[in-house]
Symmetry: C2
């Protein structure tokens, strides 16, 4: 391990996992990795839970450092609201309350801050989620670039979705993948100015709260959902490796079934980046019992998410266990690498 | 209101309150200021609570931006643990779980990060508080100065302390005030090098978790505690103004009874700063029923906090209502101003 923090330590991939295991997770005694009958560092999911009065109180906290602050399809405020809401949903909980903590640079425009906060509050209003508290800090000019926001979402659940894909499960995605990552990449690599208007208008972040998807799914299929995650940093490949890497199973994906928009695919090719590693901020990946997989997809379609698809399955394999394998459009098989390195920083 | 963020907007004083009322609190519909029978933006206390199964789940979130990261008496890690633990305690809850979110600059020393995290974990171990989750982000070199940490503490309570000082109440502090603020000020103003070793060794941050103070007090005197707060940004004056400014009461303080260490007093005088506005990170202020005030102080002494004192009282007053008034050592009366402006940034 190097002696200094690298950008790749924040990318959600192999380097980050190794660093956090060493710096934090392995230093916490097992009995302090969760409280009571809840879940915490012992599962390393999107959120954690404590159990009180027969209910799970699910909590998720994230810091949002996205740059640019305003991008096609959203801004920091929407991202900070939707990101933590989605993390609570993916644990099987109904989000009910939110806290925010804002760190802003001296000299930052109050009008821009107001726009960001208004976006944040709009999501909470639409989802009927209470804003119950927060914090506000100012750092001197030059000590922080613009503004970052931390949010903590709180949800309630009768049962949790603890990610544990089982052999035979179908892997399902709710929507096109990689839109958010592609947009931020376009801006960060300085391509936004060079891209023609028509093309640019096709690239938009997918950032949104997924309550309208998740709450009906949890109610109807809760016990059949063996894993649920929103593929943010690290993209689809990152989520699948978190699920599978320490098991005796593999995940087999069919490339042609993975929904990726044409402009996202084109940009990725042009830049030599695999869209399976690009962040989404408004999509979900599931591992579900095969007995209900087809109706699960139809039900997602009926909720207005028309691009949902079965993209692969979980299989037992002694030889390749822990790998994600792609059946390419050309018919070959390719082992995907776990996410490593950094595409662009400050994606979320 | 100016069009750009100033340092004073982050100082915990008048400017911050005005900004946050305008940008956030006044934009949230009343029904979304709390969840169910809990408390939230409707009370503007140190933390918030939701109610589940007859229990209050108290949550507090704060971002810690202190500079320097290591200072006499503590570091960022201790501060980030103790700060949020104390906020939950001041609401009357027993802290049981914690989440953290770290934002670090590319190129930051992993050894230093490890020291900070170790300090943070040490507090959790000592207090038997579980670390149940977190987040980790890296920002490119120059986009954030070093490292900032956000923590969210979760506690459980049967009843909450909702700050509402009543006429007749005694104002009690648990310890010397202003130590943390004085230390950070010494460093930020470049005085640490110029101060002689002996003097310097007398100035130490008071940062610490207050469980050993608060849990026995809550158990024994919960119903008599009408308000409890740790006087961080804005100091003692800040807390008392938050309590009193929108009431028909005044708070009368006796200057000679307010415990301030000699070196803190000396530094403050030298710099023309009133120590009543300096942050503490390991002290509590209470407004308690006068019937138990003396035994309350004796009990605090018996817990090992030997400097606890009654420093004043709450009175009704139609003429001066909403003011904090200081009976000076010389015998005069002086109206304290609410905190305004900025002493030094990144105090916590």
């Amino acid at each position: 391990m190097s002696d200094f923090i690298k950008l790749s330590h924040g990318s959600g991939g192999v380097e980050m996992r190794e660093l956090l295991m060493k710096l934090i997770v392995n230093r916490v005694e097992d009995k302090l990795k969760r409280y009571g009958d809840g879940v915490g560092l012992d599962i390393l999911d999107d959120g954690a839970a404590i159990r009180v009065g027969g209910k799970y109180i699910v909590v998720s906290t994230d810091s949002y450092t996205v740059k640019p602050l305003f991008f096609p399809g959203g801004d920091l405020g929407v991202l900070a609201a939707a990101g933590s809401i989605n993390d609570v949903l993916m644990m099987g909980a109904v989000p009910v309350a939110m806290m925010d903590s804002i760190i802003v640079e001296e000299g930052f425009s109050i009008i821009d801050l107001e726009r960001i906060i208004e976006s944040f509050l709009r999501v909470l209003r639409e989802e009927n989620i209470a804003l119950i508290g927060g914090d506000f800090k100012v750092m001197p000019r030059g000590e922080i670039d613009g503004v970052v926001m931390n949010t903590t979402a709180i949800g309630l659940a009768d049962r949790l979705i603890i990610d544990k894909p089982a052999p035979g499960d179908k892997i399902i995605v709710s929507d096109y993948l990689g839109d958010h990552g592609a947009v931020i990449m376009m801006y960060r690599l300085g391509l936004a100015q060079k891209t023609d208007i028509l093309e640019k208008s096709l690239l938009r972040s997918d950032v949104k709260s997924l309550t309208k998807l998740m709450i009906p799914l949890i109610e109807r299929y809760g016990e059949y959902i063996h894993a649920a995650r929103d593929p943010t940093r690290g993209g689809l490949a990152g989520v699948l490796y978190e699920w599978i890497s320490e098991t005796r199973n593999i995940i087999l994906l069919r490339e042609e079934d993975i929904p990726i928009r044409e402009p996202v695919r084109r940009y990725s090719e042009m830049l030599g980046i695999d869209p399976l590693y690009l962040a989404s901020e408004g999509a979900a990946v599931f591992s579900v019992d095969p007995s209900i997989a087809d109706e699960f997809v139809s039900f997602i379609h009926s909720l207005g998410f028309r691009n949902a698809k079965i993209i692969g399955e979980v299989k037992e394999s002694s030889r390749l266990s822990g790998k994600v394998i792609l059946e390419t459009v050309a018919g070959g098989l390719r082992i995907l690498d776990p996410p490593r390195g950094e595409i662009v920083p400050r994606i979320c």
